[in-house]
């Protein structure tokens, strides 16, 4: 089986879809000749032509609006927003237009647009290159929201997103581009080639949106998470010797409620973890949902692990990041209660 890091896996997904489906086009800042600031689209313009891999002006609102128009005219655009932190100029086109076009036209018009964007911190990006805004978009009716945590899922989920007739916001945790990360920046970097999820088939396959992955089965407690925190949370639980069931949601919309609730009903304890800020974050929705569905099975209050409710500070990145220490505190709290 070929080894790929997440960048290569995403590149392979787009290459395959450009080859399979003449309606697929890529567009974004620096993605064409240069191949993207993270090299995710490297070689694709040379192979598929500059009409199908379009360099664009630095105008996220324009990129998303143009992608909508292309989608209405039968194309299947994959738009890259260079950093998730830059998505806000396109917010109105996503929220008021892309998300609601099918609804407001009673299904007569739709735009099957995928918006890819690197998110999350841990790369010394400061407050404008580190954000995790996925929760904001889960509050919008009509867009799917996904975030893979490894190369295998990244490729299969991106192909599934491109083929989806609904718009998909596809967040790529950029700290995981080159390898899994347990939250300790002082350890040597680990490449994906050492990890089973770095084995990625060359050909076409999909990983459906809406199906969570039980990364590690366990009986002591359930950790519900996604993206970078999948590895951080699993490592913290392992360090404490806990038999944790770790669930990687893969997509927040649609949400795999059954997998979450089956697990929490089994373990009776739950920690919810994401890198995004805490207040009104997606974790709050998860906690509310779990207590509605699993209240009588819970042995302890559900704990939340998240980034602090401040902008992401450049100099204090690792004090900000919800690393193993913060996860451990939550795990202790949920295990010690009653």
């Amino acid at each position: 089986m070929p080894q790929m890091n997440m960048i290569q896996a995403l590149n392979s997904a787009m290459d395959i879809m450009l080859t399979r489906d003449p309606s697929v086009v890529l567009m974004g800042e620096d993605i064409g000749y240069f191949g993207g600031v993270f090299r995710t689209t490297e070689g694709l313009q040379r192979k598929h032509g500059e009409h199908r891999v379009l360099d664009t002006p630095i105008a996220e609102g324009g990129i998303i609006a143009a992608a909508i128009g292309m989608g209405v005219n039968g194309l299947r655009p994959v738009a890259e927003i260079q950093f998730a932190d830059y998505i806000y100029p396109g917010f109105d086109q996503i929220v008021s237009e892309l998300a609601r076009l099918r609804f407001r036209t009673a299904g007569d018009f739709f735009a099957p647009v995928t918006i890819r964007t690197p998110c999350g911190g841990g790369i010394r990006g400061g407050q404008t290159h580190s954000q995790s805004p996925e929760g904001i978009f889960t509050h919008v009716c009509g867009v799917k929201v996904a975030m893979p945590s490894n190369p295998y899922d990244a490729k299969g989920m991106l192909i599934a997103s491109i083929e989806d007739d609904d718009p998909v916001l596809f967040f790529e945790p950029k700290r995981l581009y080159n390898g899994p990360f347990d939250g300790d920046p002082n350890k040597p970097a680990v490449p994906w080639s050492t990890h089973p999820k770095g084995e990625v088939p060359d050909g076409y396959y999909t990983v459906p949106l809406g199906k969570a992955d039980i990364v590690r089965p366990g009986n002591d407690l359930t950790i519900v998470t996604y993206g970078t925190m999948t590895f951080v949370a699993a490592a913290a639980a392992a360090a404490m010797g806990l038999d944790a069931e770790v669930i990687d949601l893969r997509s927040m919309v649609p949400l795999d409620v059954d997998t979450i609730c089956t697990s929490v009903k089994k373990t009776g304890r739950c920690v919810v973890a994401h890198e995004a800020t805490r207040f009104s974050g997606f974790g709050a929705e998860l906690v509310a949902l779990i207590q509605e569905e699993c209240f009588w099975n819970l042995e302890a209050p559900i704990q939340r692990v998240a980034g602090w409710d401040t902008p992401y500070p450049h100099a204090f990145e690792w004090e900000y990041f919800p690393g193993q220490a913060r996860v451990t505190t939550a795990l202790k709290a949920v295990m010690e209660s009653a």
Binding site: G62, I68, N73, R104, P254
Partner: protein
């Protein structure tokens, strides 16, 4: 002399109780503006963004190089479409006043914009209208009853009760959905046109916004993307002088024309008398040919006047003189085309009255049918279950659950 920086606040020339003043509108005589070759480079024709293309003079005579020399039947058809738009608008306005529909927006005084432009385009060209472009539906032959059912949010509403009145769409007629958020359709039209070019088709896109919403970033994104990719698109700014109570000066119209934004982006900009059916037709035809032959996009500023209130929720007597439209120097588009046809010996006051009566009857008959499909609060109603459809292509589990909850709520009430 004490020179200091200063803040300039645009001032409307006339407020209620004052005499209307349109001295700020730069006019060119009919027939006076040159018509460049359709393949002229944008940089060589920037005069078009300053002058005002006019064909019909004050006596109804068609003059100059932009005279489109349309067949008499086309002219009569244009008159009919404009008149039908007006009759439809008047009837729907009364209907709103009677409480039958919640909201309406007339296009009074601006009918030539939608009608002449839609007539100058091909049926396969995709239109991205704004909310005052009902005339494009009339030109493309949409049954009036379809429009009325949308206004009524009834059982035949194309939007299934999800949109405010006038936010129509029509897949078969190649008319895109009106958003309600202004200007968003402008860059979408450019994307549609880019896709047409990528696919190697010769359909073009056209979009409309008001001068007021040209202040939005979407306007600039549209011009930028149109310029960068030379997309086959016509971008229309309908400068009707007013955005609700906000005068065009607040959208930046005091210092330069809206058409002049075009040359600034390296695309052709052209200013046209928006109440002159022949000039609007000719300019649109010219722009369409440019787009279709690879000469690139065009920004058209249609200088017109919003003779009606912004909407049924607006009262312009609070911010502008009551007799403003009577003094508007570019007149009424219907009266001007009618005058031209009479001058040609192809129309008369009697025929005009007869046509008006015929169109009144047509609208009345359609209304009579439309209300049989229900009204907002009377008669047959759409199933509220429908609100959960089309959020996504497939109904996801959380919406299935919420639909069940709503059904239970309704069952309790009944």
């Amino acid at each position: 002399m004490n020179r200091r920086s200063r803040l300039h606040v645009p001032r409307v020339p006339a407020r209620p109780g004052e005499a209307p003043d349109f001295s700020y509108v730069d006019l060119s005589p009919a027939g006076a503006v040159a018509r460049p070759d359709v393949n002229a480079r944008a940089r060589d024709i920037s005069f078009l963004a300053v002058e005002l293309v006019r064909v019909l003079d004050d006596n109804g005579e068609a003059l100059g190089p932009w005279h489109p020399h349309l067949d008499v039947h086309e002219l009569q058809l244009g008159l009919r479409h404009m008149l039908l738009t007006r009759v439809f608008d008047d009837r729907m306005q009364r209907t709103q006043r009677q409480g039958r529909i919640s909201f309406y927006m007339r296009s009074l005084g601006e009918e030539a914009v939608s009608v002449a432009q839609a007539m100058a385009l091909r049926p396969g060209d995709m239109l991205f209208p704004s909310y005052r472009n009902q005339g494009v539906n009339i030109v493309r032959g949409r049954p009036l009853v379809d429009l009325m059912c949308q206004l009524l949010s009834n059982t035949r509403d194309m939007c299934k009760g999800r949109q405010l009145p006038v936010m129509y769409h029509w897949v078969a007629g190649n008319i895109f959905s009106i958003s309600g958020n202004l200007a968003t359709q402008f860059p979408q039209a450019v994307g549609w046109a880019m896709a047409a070019a990528i696919k190697g088709e010769d359909h073009i896109a056209a979009s409309w916004i008001g001068e007021g919403s040209s202040a939005e970033a979407d306007f600039h994104h549209a011009l930028l993307f149109a310029s960068v990719y030379q997309a086959p698109v016509i971008l229309n700014v309908v400068n009707n002088q007013w955005a609700i109570s906000t005068f065009q000066g607040f959208a930046g119209g005091e210092q330069r024309s809206f058409a002049a934004r075009g040359p600034g982006y390296g695309i052709a900009g052209i200013r046209v008398d928006g109440n002159d059916f022949l000039a609007v037709y000719a300019v649109t035809q010219w722009a369409a040919e440019r787009a279709r032959t690879g000469a690139g996009p065009t920004l058209i500023e249609l200088v017109t006047y919003r003779a009606s209130a912004h909407s049924t929720s607006d009262d312009p007597a609070r911010y502008r003189p009551k007799d403003d439209f009577d003094r508007w120097p570019l007149g009424d588009p219907i009266a001007r085309l009618k005058q031209h046809l009479i001058r040609l010996g192809e129309w008369s006051e009697q025929r005009h009255l007869a046509l008006s009566a015929e169109l009144e009857e047509l609208v009345a008959a359609n209304w009579k049918e439309a209300v049989t499909y229900g009204m907002l609060n009377e008669g047959p109603r759409l199933n509220p279950d429908l609100m959960f459809d089309d959020v996504f292509k497939e109904l996801p589990p959380h919406l299935q659950r919420q639909r069940e909850q709503m059904r239970a709520e309704i069952a309790k009430k009944d």
